[in-house]
């Protein structure tokens, strides 16, 4: 996750409280999802960004996970997410993110 976004998330967590936040990703590939999840739960694994050493423990979902997609109104889902859901393999990301959430 780039440093600019890490900085914004840190500020929002200070403002609203991390327990009131949820991060929703839109990654196209599983590669990188684990690092995203680790960054906002345990802290920046590269120890270089604003979230280095900051364990916010914010739950992370992917927008195409059933738990999220199922809450989006059908018309929006068909218009905006259906095509992506055909080309993006969500299962490996679901496994990684579910495991991350269970550790919180």
């Amino acid at each position: 996750m780039n440093f600019e976004n890490q900085g914004v998330i840190k500020r929002l967590a200070d403002q609203y409280g991390p327990e009131n936040l949820t991060v929703v990703l839109g990654n196209g590939e599983a590669n990188g999802v684990e690092v995203f999840a680790e960054t906002v739960t345990q802290g920046d694994p590269s120890y270089a960004g604003p979230l280095a050493g900051v364990a916010l423990k914010i739950p992370v979902y992917h927008v195409l996970e059933e738990d999220v997609m199922g809450q989006v109104p059908e018309k929006l889902r068909e218009e905006k997410l259906q095509l992506s859901s055909l080309v993006i393999d969500i299962e490996p990301m679901h496994q990684v993110l579910q495991s991350s959430r269970e550790k919180l």
């Binding site: 914004v8 009131n20 949820t22 929703v24 839109g26 590939e29 927008v63 809450q71």
Partner: protein, 41 residues
């Protein structure tokens, strides 16, 4: 996903972009407080 949480949407250029995530989650009744689109090259 728990209702009532404030959403931070981090999309990806080659996946689902931030504005699309935000639109969908707002449609589902969530408050989106930040959205961005990252780009991996």
């Amino acid at each position: 996903m728990q209702k009532g949480k404030k959403i931070i949407a981090i999309g990806e250029r080659d996946g689902v972009p931030g504005p699309v995530i935000a639109e969908c989650l707002e449609g589902a009744g969530y408050e989106v407080i930040f959205q961005a689109t990252e780009c991996f090259v």
